[in-house]
């Protein structure tokens, strides 16, 4: 809490001097948005609804960015998805120098590479990588969703910066304090619904912020060959009693060679849970640890064959290791591998048809095939 107060005090002082000529600056506004309608069919299963949220899904994002001056701006973004309208962004950015910037309000903390491209108009696949899925994965209830939902919007403060070494080497850093993921008292896992639910107000559930950060190195080998490697982390306690913590670690790689892009990430979450007084009736397996591990990865190749045809191939996976609740069908080591080839047909620079097929390889369940057809527009 002291750290948070210190950050806010520094921010107030910096704000006081940051825009001395603000009155002379013309306020610039930029409005942007995207829409994606996607249809998910699961031909390998007679009743897809039993294992996924199939059928039509619409995702909408509307964003207003206002630059008050060279150093301050505000961003507000409203999203609409499966669970109605959400405020994904409502923050103020203060850019002091390249190396020191502040973000306060509601935002998505910097984590990994996909964080930058979570808007459906900014990634080629119809779905998000499994480790960042927000509810469209098959068997989502059995796996209790993904590792970290992205966009993961939360209230707090982020300090970030970038340092250039010459014109070709860039180091980015960020550190944040946010409310953190939430879960029920005496629960087994974090609860994504509870983490974003207004039912308990948009406040912390345990009076203790979660903290995290990111460090990344970008090198421009030439104008047309560049690479980024990064690492990210988040730590916090998810239950109201602050008994159980979660630690998320991630590493990411982006390699761009002319038009071809390779993206890869790996993320793991270690989640503690309360064993309770009667473990044999609560857990499926004999207790040996008070935590479980959830890990995932993706590797994705993306290539535009022409202005109107872009292709991608993604290989991603999700794995859960450790004990599970007695009601869970998962084993001690359950995993998914998913193979996703797909194309984007670009009718207009702002309008694209997304087609993809997903081949799901489950360790504990019947394998499945899922087909996606979606239309995306950005403006």
């Amino acid at each position: 809490m002291r750290a948070l107060i210190a950050v806010l005090l520094i921010l107030a002082v910096v704000l006081a001097y940051a825009e001395p000529s603000a009155t002379a600056f013309e306020i610039e506004r930029n409005f942007a948005g995207s829409i994606q309608l996607d249809y998910l069919a699961i031909p390998s299963n007679e009743r897809g609804r039993d294992i996924a949220l199939d059928g039509f899904t619409t995702e909408l994002a509307l964003k207003l960015a206002v630059d008050f001056g060279e150093r301050t701006s505000a961003n507000v973004k409203v999203c609409y998805g499966c669970h109605g309208f959400e405020v994904a962004m409502a923050y103020l950015d203060l850019r002091v120098v390249d190396q020191l910037n502040f973000r306060v309000g509601r935002f998505t903390p910097r984590f990994g590479d996909f964080w930058l491209r979570h808007d459906p108009a900014n990634h080629r696949a119809n779905t998000k990588p499994l480790m960042y899925d927000m509810g469209r994965m098959l068997r989502r209830t059995e796996f209790n969703n993904s590792i970290l939902p992205i966009p993961y919007a939360d209230n707090g403060v982020e300090v970030y910066g970038t340092q250039w070494f010459g014109d070709d080497v860039q180091i980015d850093w960020a550190a944040h304090l946010v409310q953190g993921l939430r879960g029920p008292e005496g629960g087994f896992d974090v609860d994504f619904v509870l983490s974003r639910s207004p039912a308990l107000y948009y406040i912390d559930n345990n009076s203790e912020p979660a903290l995290g950060g990111r460090l990344a190195l970008t090198i421009n080998f030439t104008d047309f060959i560049s690479a980024t490697v990064g690492g990210s982390t988040i730590w916090g306690r998810w239950d109201p009693d602050r008994f159980n913590d979660y630690l998320i670690l991630g590493t990411d790689l982006y390699l761009r060679v002319y038009a071809l892009a390779l993206r890869a990430e790996a993320v793991t979450r270690r989640t503690e849970f309360t064993i309770g007084p009667n473990p044999e009736s609560r857990f499926r397996f004999e207790i040996d640890d008070d935590f479980f591990i959830k890990e995932g990865f993706y590797a994705e190749l993306e290539y535009p064959f022409s202005r109107w045809l872009e292709a991608f191939f993604r290989l991603d996976g999700l794995r859960q290791r450790g004990n599970v609740l007695v009601t869970s069908p998962l084993s001690r080591d359950s995993a998914i591998l998913r193979y996703t080839p797909g194309v984007n047909v670009v009718f207009h620079p702002s309008l694209r048809l997304k087609l993809s097929a997903e081949f799901w390889d489950f360790s504990d369940f019947q394998d499945e095939i899922a087909l996606h057809a979606g239309m995306t527009a950005n403006f």
Partner: protein, 143 residues
């Protein structure tokens, strides 16, 4: 229900992906919802190079349609915009790159403002402005 021991990503898949990656890597940048080839070729050489850099850097996170359809035509607005984008993590946009990207955006804005966009780009537009006006205001390094 099947129960198998899970193998994490097969090495063969990774090798195949790498082979595809390097076999495709000699491509022209800037295809991601950007300008038509004829439009690019109609631009002065210096602006063409700037466009290719713009296409390479900016398509990392979003399609090129986003800035091209933003409706921004004011040079100062573009500078503020590019300054903000330059600070995005992993943007790879140095001050030198920002200046080159602004060269293209200024040229592009002029085309849009002049209403010449649908009729094709004018090769002589920058020349007609004179040397001072043709060069974009530079993004000065911050203190």
């Amino acid at each position: 229900m099947t129960r198998r021991v899970r193998k994490w990503p097969p090495a063969g898949w990774i090798l195949a992906l790498l082979l595809i990656f390097f076999s495709c890597s000699a491509s022209t940048p800037g295809r991601r919802s950007g300008l038509k080839q004829a439009q690019v070729e109609a631009m002065p050489t210096e602006v063409q190079d700037a466009y290719r850099l713009f296409a390479q850097r900016c398509s990392r996170c979003h399609t090129l349609a986003r800035p091209l359809n933003s409706g921004i035509t004011d040079g100062h607005h573009w500078r503020v915009y590019v300054r903000r984008m330059r600070k995005m993590p992993g943007s790879g946009i140095s001050y030198r790159d920002a200046d080159r990207i602004l060269l293209f955006l200024d040229y592009y804005s002029l085309q849009v403002e002049e209403g010449r966009w649908s009729g094709g780009l004018r090769r002589d537009l920058l020349k007609s402005l004179g040397p001072d006006d043709a060069l974009p205001e530079k993004l000065e390094p911050e203190p």
